[in-house]
């Protein structure tokens, strides 16, 4: 397994905080109210432990927004919220009259855009600080159940490690937690680490 040092992880954490900060500014502008976002924790975990790390507690359904990024390293990026949390976000963003019991097409589309804003903001922060470019696909919404999420268990060969970024979101006095996942192949993970090292070097830290 590839080792990631505390310094490398902290650097990445800082970059993600810049990213979610940009996303918070865009989201706040859309809802005309302050939305706060932070990325308090960055972890690299073996893919078969991803589920455990994300949700130690009981859970059944998930709301996921997926985008593919390609560039110096490639990643499938996903923003994952427990469905309950996604309902809170969408409900607050839509200023919902009736709290929906599940995400209909309309709510899914809203969630798709929220995910798109957060994912693109994080990837553009990475691109800016690493001085590289990525190509990003359009977002796709997916509903996930506990069973479908078991797919992480089968990833081990192609994606040994998943980069998980915890995302805390504060919207209209409601705080919800979600996770940003980056599925990286071995070579992409190596390139990510190399990019972090080059970034640290430019800061005079190595």
């Amino acid at each position: 397994m590839i080792e990631v040092s505390d310094l490398q992880r902290d650097a990445l954490g800082e970059i993600f905080n810049i990213g979610v900060g940009r996303a918070a500014a865009s989201l706040s502008q859309i809802v005309n109210d302050e939305i706060e976002l932070s990325a308090p924790m960055v972890q690299f975990v073996p893919s078969n432990e991803a589920m455990q790390v994300m949700h130690g507690r009981e859970f059944d359904e998930f709301s996921m927004v997926e985008q593919d990024y390609s560039g110096p390293f490639n990643a499938k990026a996903m923003l994952v919220f427990q469905e309950q949390n996604a309902l809170v976000i969408v409900g607050k963003m839509l200023g919902g009259v009736v709290p929906p019991e599940q995400l209909g097409e309309f709510e899914q589309e809203a969630m798709c855009e929220v995910g798109n804003i957060i994912l693109n903001a994080c990837v553009s922060a990475l691109a800016d600080l690493f001085h590289v470019e990525f190509n990003g696909s359009l977002p796709v919404y997916q509903h996930g159940t506990r069973d479908s999420m078991a797919l992480f268990e089968d990833l081990r060969e192609d994606v040994p490690v998943i980069l998980i970024v915890q995302i805390d979101l504060l919207i209209r006095q409601h705080s919800v937690q979600g996770h940003l996942l980056f599925l990286l192949s071995v070579s992409s993970l190596e390139e990510l680490i190399a990019s972090i090292d080059r970034y640290l070097e430019t800061l005079g830290i190595d």
Partner: protein, 155 residues
């Protein structure tokens, strides 16, 4: 079979959605017939002009402008959904009546980067989702009514 430019423009004009292609300086390269019809701006006026000149309000509509900037500077694609944007981003109308009443059609917009040799730009597609949004609002109102009635009954 190679498709030449004139065929390509016939195809673009046949589409029932707005297709706009911008170059790196946000100048319009493609403005299909749907855009002409719904914006009221002829293609010979639009083509070659920066988008912000055609739609000055873009400067104050952060989201679409940001999405275009992100496509041009970072090659990232974006979606702009009608569900979280109360006001449709572009002044596009279904018919002269709605234009007079200033009722914009509801818009679902996809912005994607394009990078070919010699061209670095982006495209955006606009879908008219007014019918779906109206239906959704109607359902929402009905469901709100029902839940109020339910509460009254329970009381």
């Amino acid at each position: 079979m190679e498709i030449d430019a004139s065929v390509r423009s016939v195809i673009l004009d046949a589409m029932v959605l707005g297709v706009v292609v911008l170059d790196h300086d946000t100048r319009v390269l493609v403005w299909n017939r749907w855009m002409v019809k719904q914006s009221g701006i002829p293609d010979d006026v639009a083509i070659g002009r920066p988008l912000a000149e055609i739609f000055p309000e873009l400067a104050t509509n952060g989201r679409l402008q940001n999405a275009i900037d992100q496509a041009l500077s970072h090659r990232l694609a974006s979606i702009i959904s009608p569900s979280i944007h109360r006001r449709p981003p572009l002044p596009l109308y279904r018919d002269p009546g709605s234009r007079e009443r200033q009722e914009r059609l509801q818009q679902l917009i996809h912005v994607t980067p394009i990078y070919l040799e010699g061209l670095r730009g982006c495209t955006f597609q606009v879908q008219d989702v007014t019918a779906a949004v109206n239906r959704e609002n109607l359902l929402r109102d009905q469901s709100a009514d029902l839940s109020v009635r339910n509460q009254q009954l329970n009381a």
